[in-house]
């Protein structure tokens, strides 16, 4: 073997040994997704925080004496974790879905599709950026609303449940947003997802009331809504009181997350509507 041929062969060996660095591309896509919402944080963070405060002011004031929530918990204090979780869920969904639909409609998704990213990396980057946006907005809403009932809310009973449901809820809606973004071809199709699935499901989940106060038919209906378990489990972390056991909520939310993750990964692996 000539020296040149040996060199070529060695070079081949060296390049085969070099790490394929699968995570660097993922890190960049994740960073880009976070940067994207952070650059317009007035709209993506400040606005939903203000919405949360408005809900608290209006509903908290109007319903203070009418709604019976948990014993020993004022209605305003009861409302705060619900509003935090609602903001987390809506914003996690908004992040992945609007980013994806914008990239699809304007065509700049091509830059991601040309890159050597696996479908799992694509999935993880969008999902985790959505979790970040959900949590940032959720913490914002909490920071502003907590002053309306500091003693009850800050007396956190089971913080681990707060963290668990924050992460699972944001992940579930982030992945759901990813699916909505993949399936939708136009903005109004995405708006339909948002208005006919996400909004009703959040409003009918017990953000504003305890489902125990509902007629039994609507109580039953609520138990088919995964959003109910996210909010109920999250609230348990604050008050150690809930409509159902947090373990039940954990099981339901985890199962829902696994299901939507499997659907989203399956779509991405097949290139459904993205690499057609």
């Amino acid at each position: 073997m000539t020296a040149a041929a040996r060199t070529v062969q060695n070079l081949g060996r060296v390049s085969a040994l070099l790490p394929a660095a699968p995570s660097a591309g993922f890190r960049t896509l994740f960073y880009k997704e976070v940067l994207r919402f952070w650059k317009v944080s007035f709209q993506t963070v400040a606005a939903p925080v203000l919405t949360g405060v408005l809900y608290l002011l209006v509903f908290g004031h109007v319903l203070e004496d009418h709604v019976e929530a948990f014993p020993g918990v004022s209605y305003v204090a009861f409302l705060i974790p619900g509003l935090v979780m609602m903001s987390v869920l809506q914003n996690a969904f908004a992040n992945s879905s609007s980013s994806l639909i914008q990239s699809k409609v304007t065509g700049n998704l091509v830059f991601v599709l040309l890159a050597p990213l696996s479908h799992a990396e694509f999935f993880a980057a969008y999902a985790i950026a959505s979790i970040v946006r959900g949590i940032v907005v959720g913490l914002g809403v909490l920071a502003v609303t907590v002053w309306f009932a500091p003693q009850t809310v800050l007396d956190v009973r089971a913080p681990i449940w707060i963290v668990i449901f924050l992460l699972l809820g944001a992940a579930l809606l982030g992945v759901l947003g990813l699916i909505a973004g993949i399936v939708s071809d136009k903005f109004d199709e995405l708006a339909a997802f948002q208005n006919f699935i996400v909004m009703p499901a959040t409003f009918l989940s017990g953000v504003f009331y305890s489902v125990h106060g509902l007629p039994s038919f609507w109580q039953t209906v609520s138990h088919f809504n995964p959003f109910f378990y996210m909010i109920d489990g999250f609230r348990y972390g604050f008050f150690a009181q809930s409509d159902v056991s947090p373990w039940v909520s954990l099981a339901v939310v985890s199962a829902a997350l696994l299901l939507v993750t499997a659907i989203a990964l399956g779509m991405l692996a097949r290139g459904y509507k993205i690499r057609h």
Partner: protein
């Protein structure tokens, strides 16, 4: 040597009606400047999209430097720099951010030296910190080219890069692309400007209706129509003896297709004998446009099979 791109029997259908690619096979060698031509809807963009992994073929196989674009997509995509046809951009970022992010997608973190060099070569340096939204169409096009080059791909695919681009940018762009080609990069180009293809490309493939109808060296393609064009302007009709050579007529402007100089002389003699007054006269060679039109009209039966 390993082919830069090898496509075998690639088929792509959209629904049951539209066949975008109907069994296309071709091999592009490393270091080539290769042109992919064809009318709208011929399948050029479909083929490029399959090579780039943006679209999946229904059947057939494509490799980039030996890497299958489906099973070994990471290596295949690292080897490819694609300039998309549409003028797409991400309105959230500046030019430099766009290029840094694109580098990151390819796993390259500290890439500013190369990004600066690419921007300098494309006259983008002064716009480095401008938001993408504020750029003119031509500038956006340059950023698209820069984005395709951030990871220094050995293969560069340009899909209609000069559509709607001014003359100055075209010149800058081609100088740069030629330099990249001389430095060893393989260039694959689709264009509507046949003059550009004729001037730049060493080999050309022509697609029509999703099929490859010609694949040859540019010179060889031109040699197929090695005849001459006699263009003239005359108020009176041409004598019947020469009328059968007319291939184009526009008012009093007429173009005749002739095999050689002797035929030109005979034609002129016949016109003079008929007392027809010629006001303007021009003799020229056939160009790629003639080849293209002939092939697209299906007048030429002898197709060159893919190597």
């Amino acid at each position: 040597m390993l082919a830069a791109i090898e496509a075998s029997a690639v088929v792509k259908r959209y629904g049951s009606r539209v066949t975008a690619l109907d069994g296309v096979s071709l091999r592009i060698e490393q270091g080539e400047f290769f042109g992919l031509l064809g009318p709208n809807g011929a399948g050029k963009t479909s083929l490029i999209s399959i090579i780039a992994g943006l679209v999946r073929a229904d059947s057939g196989r494509v490799t980039v430097l030996g890497h299958d674009v489906r099973t070994d997509y990471r290596a295949a995509r690292r080897a490819l720099g694609v300039v998309p046809q549409e003028l797409v951009f991400d309105p959230f970022f500046s030019v430099r951010e766009t290029l840094r992010i694109q580098s990151g997608y390819f796993g390259i973190r500290a890439n500013d030296d190369w990004i600066d060099e690419v921007m300098a070569n494309l006259d983008l340096t002064s716009k480095a910190d401008s938001n993408m939204r504020s750029l003119s169409g031509g500038m956006k096009r340059r950023v698209l080219v820069a984005q395709a080059l951030v990871h220094r791909p050995p293969l560069i695919v340009l899909d209609e890069p000069t559509a709607g681009v001014d003359v100055e940018l075209r010149q800058t762009l081609w100088q740069f692309i030629r330099r990249l080609n001389r430095a060893g990069h393989t260039i694959v180009l689709t264009t509507h400007y046949l003059e550009e293809a004729q001037e730049l490309c060493e080999r050309i493939a022509m697609l029509k209706g999703g099929r490859l109808i010609a694949l040859d060296a540019t010179r060889a393609l031109l040699a197929r129509v090695a005849d001459l064009r006699l263009a003239l302007r005359s108020k009176s009709p041409l004598p019947a003896a020469v009328a059968h050579n007319v291939i184009e007529r526009d008012g009093d402007h007429v173009v005749l297709r002739l095999a050689n100089v002797a035929e030109v002389e005979q034609t002129l003699a016949a016109i003079r004998a008929a007392d027809v007054v010629v006001e303007e006269l021009e003799v020229g060679h056939a160009d790629l446009e003639d080849v293209f039109l002939q092939l697209m009209a299906g007048r030429e039966a002898g197709l060159t099979e893919a190597a």
